[in-house]
């Protein structure tokens, strides 16, 4: 199946354990992270994660986005094709 890389931009609360939660959520559902970048934003209580994941179709992208948004510490998620 043809797969394409999608970029998920996540704004999350800057707390211990949030990165592990996000990464675990994606890997626990069998998706492979291609690239991951985490850094602070101007608001020190918020971090931004850029996560690149190989997805087979848009429904997988939507599913990952919903799963991420459901997380208690996730403020906002957007996605786009790379």
């Amino acid at each position: 199946m043809k797969q394409e890389t999608y970029r998920f931009n996540c704004f999350v609360e800057n707390r211990p354990g949030v990165l592990a939660r996000i990464v675990g959520l994606i890997s626990g559902r069998g998706y492979n992270i291609q690239a991951l970048n985490v850094g602070p934003t101007e608001d020190g209580t918020v971090s931004k994660m850029k996560i690149d994941v190989l997805c087979s179709d848009e429904s997988v992208v939507e599913q990952i986005k919903h799963q991420l948004s459901n997380q208690v510490n996730v403020i906002e998620v957007t996605s786009r094709k790379r």
């Binding site: 999350v12 211990p16 626990g28 459901n70 208690v72 510490n73 996730v74």
Partner: protein
């Protein structure tokens, strides 16, 4: 100022905790030390897994969060199964675990485990406390998270130094979570489309899951079904959301569901799915699922829409809200041909069973006996396996929160403790726990708690001397090689190198075990004595164990083998 431990216990009380299930240990002792003065009932389990399932049963019976307190390390790892069980079924729980002091975390200290790491994937959320000052706020947030959106278990891991430190922090009046806003309102246009699709359907089916019960929408479901004459199928988790005495009731759909429910879904042109997950146990081969239907899916969890099944219209909102709003737009309607066709299937393939050997109790008859003995009022709690499916099939379910079972995780050992939790929550209910001889041996120790707290649960052990569901699969799909599924020494395969000269066929003797735990004990072998014995036990008002020796080779039918479509249903 008070200690973190005192703040924790006070916060649990503020959050509305009436019953606390738990088991002590070194890193939780400061919290336990605050319990004697706390205005709530404490129930000492006999294994942390039992404590977790008790809290789960309490939550399923009431809708209120079940609360559980255990120690660090092995205490925390022992609740893991209970958390996973509650998580997949969307059951609200708050579990407090002790933890080694912050300064010792990461040093492989005695009874240290990375509880937040271990429980992350099987909880809705978890917290590791870093300071006593955080405790009241975290407890408030934990209860909020556990009960809002799709409910689920939340773990609070509390290091011992935070329990001992002093704090002036107070329980917050309001919970504010920056990033978590799980309440979704339906788009008005979607509601109009919902009504339009349903109003124009020729062969509609309402398909109700556990979400209907969680949302408290059973009455709205019944009104909708009657107004537009729409047959109702339920999932396993949705049993009790629709009264099965109704002529519109199709019973349960799925692998062991009724023929009528599965065929109705297969031939429907419109399915309104309420609070369901479209699990693989229900859809079978997903490509061939409901091929003709426009599916409208309503669920409070956005991630469940379009997850397993592509739907025509997905509405993320509270089910009760949606049904109340849409009710006036659904026109009064009749579907006489469709309903008659379904009744034809019901006549042709009713749920039934045949007596296999004269004088041997059929397990299905035990469930019918429970229905009779309780006038259909039993609050049923099951374990996992064949008896679980028979309980789903042969009891006429009629009340929400009266059928409690581990659906998603399929956790053996769930039944006995969960029934005790339900019994504590609902002292006036006729709680009947149906459990197999396999699962009963996993958590039997908890029967002591029922006896101590005078919880009048009737534990009915369906004893077929084997792990029946495993045995059934081996019979049907593994050429009758019963590896590991027979519990009597006499029937075991040679791979275990057992001498087959034991005097006893049935070990353990559950009546002796029950007596050793302080419960009333009955054993039934004679079919003629089944009804009376169950009635006696239920009406005794005491914790009782009824061991019923049943036909060991009975199977659960109908059955759609895993991954197959409805058309390949097996009847016997």
């Amino acid at each position: 100022m008070r200690t973190g431990a005192q703040a924790l216990v006070d916060s649990l009380v503020k959050a509305g905790t009436e019953v606390l299930f738990g088991y002590p240990g070194g890193q939780a002792l400061d919290i336990f030390n605050c319990l004697p003065e706390a205005p709530m009932k404490f129930v000492l389990g006999r294994h942390e897994q039992g404590c977790a399932h008790m809290a789960d049963g309490y939550a399923r019976a009431t809708g209120k969060p079940g609360v559980c307190l255990v120690t660090s390390g092995p205490g925390a790892t022992n609740v893991v199964t209970g958390l996973a069980t509650a998580n997949i079924d969307g059951v609200p729980m708050v579990v407090i675990t002790g933890q080694v002091p912050l300064s010792l975390i990461g040093t492989d200290a005695f009874q240290e485990a990375d509880t937040s790491g271990i429980t992350r994937a099987i909880t809705k959320h978890n917290f590791l406390v870093h300071s006593a000052d955080e405790i009241p706020e975290i407890v408030a947030q934990a209860f909020y998270i556990a009960t809002h959106g799709k409910p689920g278990p939340v773990v609070i891991d509390v290091p011992k130094n935070c329990q001992q430190a002093l704090t002036a922090a107070e329980y917050p009046e309001r919970v504010s979570l920056r990033a978590y806003h799980p309440e979704h309102a339906a788009n008005p246009n979607d509601l109009s489309r919902f009504a339009k699709i349903l109003n124009s359907a020729k062969r509609p089916v309402l398909y109700a899951g556990g979400g209907v019960i969680t949302s408290g929408a059973a009455a709205d479901l019944a009104k909708l079904a009657e107004k537009a004459e729409i047959p109702v199928a339920t999932t396993f988790m949705g049993l009790g959301s629709f009264d099965e005495h109704s002529p519109l009731a199709l019973g349960m759909a799925g692998m062991h569901g009724s023929a009528a429910a599965n065929w109705a879904i297969h031939e429907a042109d419109c399915i309104v799915a309420l609070g369901v997950r479209f699990s693989d146990r229900v859809t079978g081969n997903i490509k061939l699922y409901a091929p003709e239907a426009k599916i409208v899916h309503v669920d409070c969890d956005p991630s469940s829409l379009n997850k397993n099944v592509k739907v025509e219209l997905g509405i993320c909102a509270d089910i009760k809200d949606v049904l109340t709003t849409v009710a006036s737009r659904i026109k009064q309607n009749r579907h006489p041909e469709w309903v008659e066709k379904i009744h034809g299937w019901q006549r042709e393939h009713p749920l039934s069973y045949k007596q296999m050997h004269e004088g041997v109790i059929m397990p299905q008859a035990v469930i019918e006996a429970i229905d009779k003995a309780t006038n259909g009022e039993a609050l049923l709690v099951t374990d996992v396996g064949q008896h679980q499916m028979w309980t789903a099939q042969f009891f006429r379910h009629n009340t929400p929160r009266h059928f409690l079972s581990s659906g998603g995780m399929g956790t053996m050992g769930f039944g006995i403790p969960a029934a005790i939790g339900a019994g504590l929550a609902k002292p006036d209910a006729k709680v009947v726990c149906v459990v197999g001889d396999g699962g009963a041996q996993m958590t039997f120790e908890e029967v002591v708690c029922a006896v101590e707290h005078k919880v009048p649960v009737t534990f009915v052990i369906i004893n077929n001397n084997c792990l029946g569901m495993v045995r059934q699969w081996q019979q049907l799909f593994y050429r009758e090689r019963y590896a590991g599924s027979i519990l009597s020494v006499r029937g075991r395969l040679e791979m275990e190198h057992l001498e087959q000269d034991l005097e006893y066929d049935y070990l353990p003797d559950f009546t002796l075990l029950a007596k050793a735990h302080g419960a009333e004990a009955y054993r039934v072998i004679d079919p003629a004595k089944l009804d009376d014995t169950i009635r006696t036990a239920v009406e005794s008002g005491k914790t009782s164990v009824v061991e019923v020796i049943v036909e060991p080779r009975a199977n659960v039918y109908p059955m759609i083998p895993g991954g197959k479509p409805v058309t390949e249903m097996i009847f016997e």
